[in-house]
């Protein structure tokens, strides 16, 4: 399995250790299982999947851009329906089976993040950021623990959790703006604007912390940030006010 990143460019790493996600070249094609994925466009990229007969991908039903008539769709069982709805998570996840072609895109300028998952990996993703995942990846959700998180953390109450058991899989995310990744060492901390959080290894813990800012003699202003503690990867997006598709 490949991720389509260009091989002839060096890693772009900022002085503080953030690595820019590789910008996929237009029409880049890569494989997963017996299927292929082609990425088209660079402003709001489209992922076009050619599904092999035994393969399937799942997605939130509103990211479907177009499909061949022959591609069957079915609903996916997701646990905790009411909790998911209250948490603002997609209530319906749809599965498309091979063989045939189907294409997906989100509704904001940004980039696709291709994350091949090896067996035994767990990845947490902010809600409504995942574009699609291959059928070998298990899908669940986790609640962000702590009342402070629920009330003040801008990244929502729940996160999507993707787990690979014995088979590898492919996960595609859509990050708004540019996407940057950093690997935290054990115990290493970083404070992130909650809206900028995109994904993290499940080994990274996250909690909302309040920063007290003084405004004038008596005034106080509380600013909440997400404190991420390693070890593991953290991915952030540079555009965190959603510029959606409203006319």
């Amino acid at each position: 399995m490949t991720c389509g990143a260009p091989l002839d460019v060096r890693d772009k790493v900022s002085d503080s250790g953030w690595r820019e996600a590789p910008r996929l070249r237009d029409m880049t094609e890569f494989r997963f299982s017996a299927s292929t994925c082609q990425v088209e466009g660079e402003l709001v990229p489209v992922a076009e999947i050619a599904l092999a007969p035994q393969d399937a991908v799942y997605f939130e039903h509103h990211v479907l851009l177009w499909k061949d008539e022959s591609v069957p769709l079915e609903s996916m069982k997701t646990a905790g329906g009411m909790k998911r709805t209250i948490g603002g998570m997609p209530h319906i996840v749809t599965v498309a089976h091979g063989s045939g072609r189907i294409a997906f895109s989100r509704d904001a300028p940004g980039e696709l993040v291709v994350l091949p998952l090896h067996p035994g990996m767990e990845l947490d993703v902010r809600e409504h950021a995942f574009l699609l995942a291959s059928h070998s990846i298990q899908y669940s959700f986790v609640r962000i623990k702590g009342l402070a998180n629920l009330l003040h953390g801008g990244s929502g109450m729940f996160m999507d959790r993707f787990i690979t058991a014995q088979y590898p899989g492919l996960l595609l995310l859509h990050g708004n703006g540019n996407v940057l990744e950093r690997t935290l060492g054990p115990g290493e901390k970083i404070l992130v604007e909650p809206g900028g959080f995109l994904y993290k290894d499940s080994t990274v813990t996250m909690q909302a912390v309040q920063m007290q800012l003084k405004t004038g003699v008596f005034g106080r202003h509380g600013m909440y940030l997400a404190e991420m503690t390693g070890p593991g990867r953290v991915g952030i997006q540079s555009m965190y006010v959603h510029h959606g598709s409203e006319e």
């Binding site: 029409m27 088209e40 709001v44 851009l65 008539e69 749809t94 300028p109």
Partner: protein
């Protein structure tokens, strides 16, 4: 004799220029065609010029491009008033008379179209990240454009609008709601007496596909940008196979609302589209094909 035909605007063009003088597409760009047959519309190069009559439009910027017009004496363009970025005082602006004001207002279409008459300069831009698309129209050619994609047209392009006839209703007799997934009306532009230029703004990236006679494709209704008048469209309701999933409201429904395009003709879609409406059960609809998996 010039035999070069621009692969994007499909008009005879000049291959010695870096960009097509009619639509602004780069001449030397290799085809970017996906495995399934979609051609990616290349962004018009920064500062490329599009000639029409004695006037020209220059496209400035690449993220939210601006179309800057240099209008000659006696020539004009028209546009929806909210896309005006700037105009020099010499340019004469006036209201364009339009029929069906009430219907247009009810359908959410722009009520006021403005004419800009040369000589003078004027600049237009939409306020979304995306691409400007140049569509030169040959004498007698018409094209359907989805509402809110229109940026500007030259004075000799006739503007009309038609009912899309793609709709469905939800709710009961007392609380019926009408939904128009690709808008109630579509814009129709025609070059009646001589060639003209149409400029559109699409959000995100744009992809074009040529459908053969009888070839069909299912797409998100709100992703459409334009299509040839020969392409037929109707509603398509697709019901995924249900794996024990149930709504707690029995008047809700699990379905994908798509449109079915049937060739022959050219179709363009953009990669940003609106989220489909909620899952309320459909009570009535325009002609539609259905598939239950």
């Amino acid at each position: 004799m010039n035999t070069y035909v621009c692969r994007y605007c499909r008009q005879p063009s000049d291959p010695s220029q870096p960009t097509c003088p009619l639509c602004g597409a780069p001449v030397d760009l290799r085809d970017t065609i996906s495995d399934s047959g979609w051609t990616e519309q290349p962004p018009i190069r920064d500062m490329a010029k599009l000639q029409f009559g004695q006037s020209h439009a220059q496209i400035a910027g690449t993220t939210v491009p601006v179309a800057e017009f240099n209008l000659a004496q006696g020539e004009m363009v028209y546009f929806s008033h909210h896309v005006l970025l700037w105009a020099d005082p010499a340019t004469r602006l006036q209201n364009m008379s339009m029929r069906g004001g009430w219907k247009r207002m009810m359908a959410g279409l722009p009520l006021i179209m403005v004419e800009a008459h040369g000589p003078g300069h004027i600049a237009l831009s939409d306020n979304h990240a995306g691409e400007v698309i140049g569509l030169p129209l040959q004498h007698g050619q018409s094209i359907w454009v989805k509402e809110h994609r229109f940026l500007a047209a030259t004075g000799n392009v006739r503007y009309d609008w038609s009912d899309n006839n793609v709709w469905y209703t939800t709710g009961d007799q007392n609380e019926q709601e009408w939904h128009y997934p690709m808008g109630q009306f579509g814009d129709v532009f025609s070059a009646t007496d001589r060639p003209g230029l149409l400029l559109l703004h699409a959000k995100g990236n744009t992809f074009i596909r040529d459908l053969k006679p009888g070839e069909t494709l299912l797409v998100q209704p709100s992703s459409l940008v334009y299509h040839d008048m020969s392409v037929r469209i109707h509603l398509h309701l697709e019901y995924p196979r249900n794996q024990g999933f149930a709504f707690w409201r029995n008047n809700w429904d699990y379905r994908n609302i798509l449109v079915r395009l049937t060739g022959p003709g050219r179709v363009a879609v953009q990669s940003i589209f609106e989220r489909p409406e909620a899952m309320e059960a459909i009570t009535n609809h325009s002609y539609a094909t259905r598939h239950r998996w």
